[in-house]
Amino acid sequence: MTELKQLGIILLLLWIGQTVQGIFGLALPGNVLGMLLLLILLVTGLLKLKHVERVTEVLLGHLSFLFVPSIVGVMTVAYLFKGNVIKIFIIVFFSIIVVMVTSGRTVQWMLQRKNRKRGDQL
């Protein structure tokens, strides 16, 4: 299937996601609903990987480029940064440590417990 048809499929899923979000007034963004929908279609086998593989490569291969205009938009709100730069960096750095340590240690602890249980049964 050509990239164009694949893009058509993805845009259709995005549109369905946005429409569902609009109709039910959900807090879940339309693009995330579209992602969940695609995941469900892939897991159930209604869509095959080959139906969306090439457009995925193109889009995710250029993912950071797609962020350029959003980040440039910071020039319109730069005044909010004034006098807060150090505070912002403290929060960024501290919260990264918090997220890494809590998520990583939790996964490690649960995996160890699971493996120990399995060991007992043997």
């Binding site: 995005l14 963004p29 693009n31 990987l49 205009p69 980040i71 990264i96 997220v99 890494m100």
Partner: protein
């Protein structure tokens, strides 16, 4: 002169030029701080400032690029699907870990933001910063943040995770490859995943999986976040 720049071609062209230079600089210097996205941002803002072009004019083209973030988020389901077996066999530890990390991250930002007496718009813009940009800017808009600020915080977070992530993980005794990948991806999305892929195959796979899952979990936290903001 300015009137000839008042076309979508300008915004798209400047973005492509700036990002290409960013990629080149990143490759030449091999410095993590020379992230292509950050370099591109500095170049575009410099060009606009020198030419005296405002953001609205640039964004005629910019909006066309931003449009593709929608379909790009939808196809994040593909890497998630590729790791489906690994995810299924370790479902509970992985989901619990990502959820605990996401909740702790959001809480730490709100608490620290209040302690440091930051503006609510700033705090709301920082809250989704550990998730991937297309999801983060949606969350930001919903909870009263500023999507452009959020996009900036997301990339600062990614780059910090890229530089410091492995050291943090080692320092806090996280040794299991699955746990390492989850920590990198939950804290610093796609940029952290690039680092995790350098560390190892399982780390990279788990990290890319965390991008989508952490995004979804944080979306479900929106009502709770709004309660505390």
């Amino acid at each position: 002169m300015i009137q000839y720049l008042d076309t979508p071609v300008f915004g798209v062209g400047v973005s492509i030029l700036a990002y290409s230079i960013g990629l080149m600089v990143a490759k030449r210097t091999k410095l993590a701080i020379m992230n292509p996205l950050l370099v591109a941002m500095v170049i575009v803002i410099s060009i606009l400032t020198i030419l005296g072009v405002d953001y609205q004019t640039y964004n005629k083209g910019g909006a066309m690029i931003t449009f593709f973030l929608g379909p790009a988020t939808v196809v994040l389901a593909v890497p998630l699907y590729r790791q489906w077996e690994l995810l299924k066999s370790n479902l509970m530890p992985i989901l619990t870990g990502i959820a605990v990390g996401s909740i702790a991250g959001v809480a730490s930002i709100i608490i620290l933001g209040r302690l440091l007496d930051l503006d609510t718009v700033l705090i709301a813009s920082m809250v989704p910063k550990s998730t991937t940009t297309p999801i983060a800017i949606e969350i930001s808009a919903v909870i009263g943040g500023n999507p452009s600020l959020t996009a900036t915080f997301v990339s600062i977070t990614g780059i910090t995770g890229f530089i410091a992530g492995v050291r943090i993980i080692d320092a806090f005794g996280i040794r299991n490859p699955i746990a390492k990948g989850i920590a990198m991806g939950t804290a610093s999305h796609a940029v952290g995943t690039a680092k995790a892929m350098e560390v190892g195959e399982v780390e990279g796979a788990m990290s890319s999986l965390s991008i989508g899952v952490a995004g979804i979990i944080t979306v479900f936290l929106i009502p709770v976040i709004m309660w505390f903001l």
